[in-house]
Symmetry: C2
Subunit: 238 residues, 2 copies
């Protein structure tokens, strides 16, 4: 390839040109593209600049890179949806609605097996802190929060006052998490949940289960029960 007439000296312009060639099928899925040094020569820029552009494309899954074998156009460009997980209070306030919060209970109790497993609790009958609360938007139930907190990972939780501040916020300030897992599913809501959310029994609810880790162990696992009609929205890339 001869050098281009006009050189591309920003990594964004290099990225755009590479994307154009991929979309125009000049470089086809599964095929290799020229190496960084060659592209730098063609585009009239430093190799570092090409590297930055291709690295960004690799992060979003458009191309795949391997040392020695080079860069190729991804065969099955996976789409990605990125959900932002804000504080529930922020989520409600950002909709321009008034936030409210009702604590149902907060007490130490034997963890059911699903919770013991998620929190990595060893013995049978180990206790954890159970917090049940309803978040309100404009006075109406918005989401039910059913949370278990690992007391060996966040002992301070026993002395926290969850009537004043939701467990959601207390944890964010006192035990920030490093990683975790989110599971989304749909289910018919049970009698107890229906009562707390002001729903008919067996109404279809959206359930989010989040388990989060601190330094090296699980800190908390929470089930969020959203009322029917709730929509999780996210942009889609690739």
């Amino acid at each position: 390839m001869p050098p281009l007439a006009t050189s591309l000296n920003t990594w964004q312009s290099v990225q755009t040109e590479v994307l154009r060639r991929i979309r125009a099928r000049i470089w086809k899925p599964g095929e290799p593209i020229p190496n960084e040094a060659d592209l730098a020569r063609e585009f009239g820029c430093a190799r570092t600049t090409v590297n930055r552009a291709l690295r960004a494309l690799a992060e979003s899954g458009i191309v795949e890179r391997k040392r020695k074998s080079g860069t190729r156009v991804a065969l099955h460009p996976v789409g990605r949806a990125v959900f932002e997980i804000p504080l529930i209070r922020k989520e409600i306030e950002d909709q321009g609605r008034r936030y409210g919060y009702t604590l149902v209970c907060a007490n130490e109790a034997a963890a059911p097996s699903r919770v013991a497993y998620a929190l990595g609790l060893k013995g049978d009958g180990t206790t954890a802190l159970h917090v049940l609360a309803v978040h309100l938007a404009d006075g109406q139930p918005y989401v039910l929060e059913d949370r278990w907190i690992n007391l060996s990972a966040a002992p301070g939780a026993l002395r926290a006052d969850f009537t004043a501040q939701s467990a959601n916020e207390w944890l964010l300030e006192n035990a920030p998490y490093i990683g975790g897992e989110l599971v989304i599913s749909a289910a018919a809501c049970g009698e107890a949940e229906a009562a707390l959310l002001d729903l008919k029994e067996a109404a279809p609810v959206l359930i989010l289960e989040r388990t989060t880790w601190g330094e090296n162990r699980p800190v908390t696992t929470v089930r969020l029960w959203y009322r029917p009609g709730h929509r999780l929205i996210s942009p889609l890339v690739s």
Copy 2:
């Protein structure tokens, strides 16, 4: 700050040290951290290296950066959940199950208003291609795909044979998308959907609605109805 005894000369080690200080509350939420030049001096590395580390932290939402005002620890570290959206066939095969596919119908029809809106169709009664299909895992219904394709964006779809290849795959090969939107919700399934998915009416289903754009216009919008019990799983970061 005096230079460290041992210098940190990889961007990963700089990132780790910065993270450590944030987690140890040496640098607190909302507060500014030293500028790149100072950190580079302290760590004994080039400013470029510090830049790379802080840029990565900014991308994952741990810090916020602005020219002139500098870098500060994010006040509300939003968590992010990243879902990968594979082909449905791959999703099933990756579970080690046998993939099957049944086309219910594929015909040009007047788009209902929700679809016309999503696809950006102008006039009333504009037609689009409607494709209804069931994806099977081990012979059992797995998900119902209710798709509408914008014929002005993908005219070739009229001549495609959707009995042999799902619309999902045809579109990925013939009209790759650039961006879009994903909406997740729960609902009680209707009579028609229940029959196709082999469910009782009003069973709680998980609904994914994806609308995707090509160069400059919407290409397709699809509703996926997943059977009760289906779980969407994703890692959680920050």
